[in-house]
Symmetry: C2
Subunit: 330 residues, 2 copies
């Protein structure tokens, strides 16, 4: 309990550091419709998990958190670029309860300011030591293409009736988890960690990201609505592929699969959410997803434990951070 | 005349080299709707002017053209990324006579494959020598933001009745010319040129680019339709801000300005093109634009002449290339 408070306080300090750096980005004023949307979107906030991971990675390798600021900002700016463009593609009106950029301005503004935001991410790398630049650039390029691939697979899957669990896991790995891996790895690179340790750090981020995504899917259906802050079943109503849905389709018999398919094809209703949830329960999907999440978290911890000579306290902090992420109810 | 043939042959060889490298990019196959649109768009071709400039810059500084391949490809991929996204913003159905990506696939595919194309541009930099990476990355980041700024100013101007010549020149500088400057400069960086010479090389590209754009505006109205391959006045019918239009508005008396404005506000017709062209003629706009173009080309040549110790033959080639660009009729 006290550990949890301590890690929460530490995370809050790191989040504040990221927040300060983001606020001080010092963007040009003109053209207004290029840079104002970027300030607006970056100001909406979010939990800054990825940059915090980069900072924790610096601590893991015995440096001050601030040593990884260039990587932290690059990853956060890149993440926001992907959100900005994803919002256009998903036709999303809101992001974190605020108007999306294409809604507040227009689609052209959102495309172009998103493009500029990606450039700003690359710009941060120039703050790092020049000898680290090749490795940092290589890593962000790799993860950037993977995130694009993940987004394309996600869009491809929307038109398909059946997605395998394997395909789904690969999609969320590319779309979201690799960036958590890259945050850890880039922090490690900036602190001169050995390649094998960079890889372990990456794997910790990657598996934590995967666990986080499965938890996200779980919360949508089984989260406490009071704590979660929204009605359950949003993903069901959006006919989204989630771990729960693809796993259910994988293990269900033909009758249940047909029932699931026909509910997913049905228009929005309270019954749709209730019936799909009921089918999930009858298949024991909640338990399977929780088991999967635990297994992913275990793999994350094993990767972390493989890093020899890393700061023990920092290791404990990272584990606590991962558990805190998974245990969240919002 | 023989000089012209020689430079044309040399350019053709460099274009072929770029073409080969572009064809061998070796993109992943999956996801198909991410990478296929990139191959398609890169395959449409174009004159590859920017990468050729980077290669000529390498020759200018006494290296083989191939020394600047990473810069050449980075600039060409970046250029195509901007075209791909600009086509969405401009709602353009065709690019070089072929379907644009958002027409052939859809807008989401065009947004995302454009994003990936930008990443591929950055990826090319990793082929350069690591010690050149900081300067190359800094340059491409700078020019990338400027091109975004130029595109935003262009869109801003579309909603305005009056744009000054100064504003117009700044817009085309940002939107198109800085990338020609960057192509020259990045080639120079890769060949270890001194910073002052890098700047002169940049200026040569920049002013050549500005002259090229003014020529483009001229050709639209005064080009030989048979050689130019399209009907004159496309920019007039599209109510585009061009050097001719903004200069005419600057020097015309109030009556002529009102006449121009009312013709630009009128629906498409042959009379619209004829009358606006007539007003341009009466104001001597063609001669003013030609004078401006000559002056810009002069500035380009002066920048080139300022480079001490550069290869004389390569200087002559670059001048011939610039003149060939300006003298083109298509």
């Amino acid at each position: 309990m006290s550990d949890n408070t301590e890690i929460k306080q530490h995370i809050a300090i790191l989040q504040h550091l990221v927040h300060q750096k983001v606020s001080n980005l010092d963007l040009p004023e003109h053209p207004v419709r290029l840079y104002e949307p970027i300030s607006y979107f970056m100001g909406i906030g979010g939990k800054r998990l990825r940059p915090v991971l980069a900072l924790l990675s610096a601590e893991l390798f015995g440096h001050e958190a601030a040593a990884a600021i260039p990587s932290a900002l690059a990853v956060e700016l890149f993440h926001n670029f992907t959100l900005l463009h994803d919002d256009i593609m998903d036709n999303a009106p809101l992001r974190r309860g605020k108007q999306t950029v294409h809604e507040k301005y227009d689609t052209n503004v959102a495309i172009l300011s998103g493009d500029a935001l990606m450039v700003l991410a690359y710009q941060q790398l120039l703050v790092a030591a020049p000898e680290q630049l090749p490795a940092l650039l290589k890593e962000i390029n790799k993860v950037a293409l993977e995130v694009c691939e993940g987004q394309q697979y996600d869009m491809d899957f929307q038109g398909r009736e059946r997605v395998t669990t394997e395909e789904y896991m690969r999609m969320i790995k590319l779309k979201t988890s690799v960036l958590l891996g890259a945050a850890m790895k880039m922090g490690a690179i900036q602190c001169g960690a050995q390649p094998t340790d960079q890889q372990h750090a990456y794997d910790f981020g990657l598996y934590t990201g995967l666990a986080f995504q499965v938890q996200d899917d779980l919360l949508d259906v089984f989260g406490d609505p009071e704590k979660f802050g929204k009605k359950p079943g949003g993903d069901i109503l959006a006919n989204k592929n989630t771990y729960l849905r693809v796993k259910a389709m994988e293990i269900a018999d033909q009758t249940t699969r047909m029932a699931l398919n026909s509910w997913y094809a049905a228009p929005d209703s309270e019954a749709k959410v209730l019936e799909v949830t009921h089918l999930f329960r009858s298949l024991g999907i909640r338990e399977l997803a929780e088991k999967e999440m635990e297994s992913l978290l275990q793999q994350a911890f094993e990767a972390l434990d493989s890093i020899e000579g890393a700061d023990k306290q920092a290791k404990a902090k990272l584990k606590a951070f991962a558990q805190y992420l998974i245990a969240r109810e919002e």
